[in-house]
Symmetry: C2
Subunit: 222 residues, 2 copies
C-alpha cells in the first residue's frame, strides 16, 4: 500500500493524529488498486461506504439518458469520492468514475465514518465543510449549465478563471474536453471561441488564454 499524505486531504487535514500509521491500522477499511482507464464505479452503483482516493487520479462523468456525456471533473488523490452520497436515502453513485492512471482506493464502511465523527469533532467539521463545498460546486455547475448561449458560458468560465485583463492563464482542457464540460458539440464550441477571438475579446494560443476586454465578455452575460 502506498504512503498516504493525510495532511493534503481536505477531510482529514485537521485530524489530530500523533501516529498516522496507528490511525490507519485502527481504521477498518479495505484497499484496492486499479490499473489505468478502468471504470471503477458505475453511475447507479450502491454506495455503502466512503471511497477515498489515496493514490492517482480519476475522472468523474455523468451520462445522460440520451447517451451524451456531461463531463464533470478530474479528481486527484487524496480526496474522497462522492462523500455526500454515503448518507443519502437513495445511496447510489450519481456519476461514473474512471481511473486516469494507476489508482489506489480506500473503502471505509459507513459505520466507521459515523464512529470517526462521533469521536472526533474536527473530523466531523471538516467532513461537513467538504460536503458543503461539494454542494456549492454542484450549484456552480448548475449555474454554468443554465447559461444558454455557448459564448455566455465561455465568458462566465473565462472570467472565473482569469487572473485579470491582459494576463495569460492556462486552461487545462482541450477543446473536446471543454465541449464536454459545457455539454455542447465540439465544432460549436470552436466556432464560438473563434468568434470571441475575432471580436477582439480574447486571445488564444494552444491552451493559453488572455482576456483582452473583460467588459466586452461581461456583456455576453446579458
Amino acid at each position: 500500500m502506498g504512503k498516504v499524505d493525510l495532511s493534503a486531504c481536505p477531510v482529514c487535514s485537521k485530524l489530530d493524529i500523533t501516529d498516522e500509521t496507528a490511525f490507519l491500522d485502527n481504521l477498518k477499511c479495505t484497499i484496492k488498486t486499479y490499473p489505468k482507464n478502468i471504470l471503477i464505479i458505475r453511475q447507479g452503483d450502491i454506495c455503502d461506504a466512503l471511497y477515498m482516493l489515496t493514490l492517482g487520479s480519476v475522472k468523474t462523468e455523468m451520462i445522460t439518458e440520451n447517451g451524451n456525456i456531461l463531463g464533470i471533473e478530474i479528481i486527484k488523490a487524496p480526496r474522497p469520492l462522492a462523500p455526500a452520497f454515503v448518507f443519502s436515502d437513495n445511496n447510489r453513485f450519481p456519476v461514473n468514475v474512471t481511473s486516469l492512471e494507476e489508482v489506489e482506493i480506500m473503502k471505509i464502511p459507513k459505520a466507521e465514518i459515523m464512529r470517526l465523527m462521533m469521536t472526533n469533532p474536527d473530523f466531523m467539521s471538516s467532513f461537513m465543510t467538504h460536503n458543503a463545498n461539494r454542494t456549492q460546486f454542484l450549484t456552480n455547475r448548475l449555474h454554468l449549465l443554465s447559461i444558454k448561449t455557448i459564448k455566455g458560458k465561455l465568458a462566465h468560465f473565462l472570467l472565473e478563471n482569469s487572473p485579470g485583463e491582459e494576463i495569460s492563464f492556462v486552461i487545462n482542457r482541450n477543446q473536446t474536453e471543454l465541449a464536454d464540460f459545457f455539454g455542447v458539440a465540439r465544432p460549436s464550441l470552436a466556432r464560438s471561441l473563434a468568434e470571441l477571438v475575432q471580436e477582439g475579446l480574447i486571445q488564444i494560443n494552444k491552451k493559453e488564454y488572455i482576456i483582452l476586454n473583460s467588459n466586452g465578455l461581461r456583456e455576453l452575460l446579458f
Copy 2:
C-alpha cells in the same frame, strides 16, 4: 410564535425530545415572520446560521448572470433552507428565497448546530442524510438540465412523476413555471407539449397528465 411540528421536519424527526417546548427554549435562536411575496434571502447573502422554515412556504430560484430565472423548487414548512451552506468555506446562499404566503423563519446560529450534532447523534445522522438528499436533488437537477431537447426533458420529467401508463397524475406547476423549471421559453414548452399530445404519447387536461405510451416517451431520451 406558531406551533411547530418538529416530527414533520426531515432533520428533526428523529430527535428524542421528551419536552418539545423545553427543547425549543434551550435552543438559542431568533424567530422572524415575513408577509407574502417578500424576498427573504438574496442570492449571495452571507449564510452564518441555519434558516429553518417553521411556517408557510417559500420559493427558491436561481438567477443566472444573464438575468434569466431558473426555477428550482417550492419548499413547505417545516424544512431547513440550504442547510449545507452553513458549513461551506464560501458560506453564501446560492438562491433567492421568496415567501409564497406569510412565513415564519427560525434562525439557528452555526455554533448551536454544532452543539446539537455533538450532543445528539440522531440529529447529526438526520442532518447528514438530509444534506445528502439535497445533494442528490441537485444532481438530478443537473441531469435534467443536461438533457438537450425540450421533449427529452419533458419525457424524463413525466416518466419520473407518472404512477404508470394510462394513470392520470397532477403536475403542480403551470406552463410558465414548468418552462422556468426546465430553463426554456414558455412558447417553446407549449409547442413541445402539443407535439407530445399530437404524437399520441400523452394526454393533458389542465394540470392533469396521462402517459399513453411510455415506451414512446423513452425513445425521446436517445
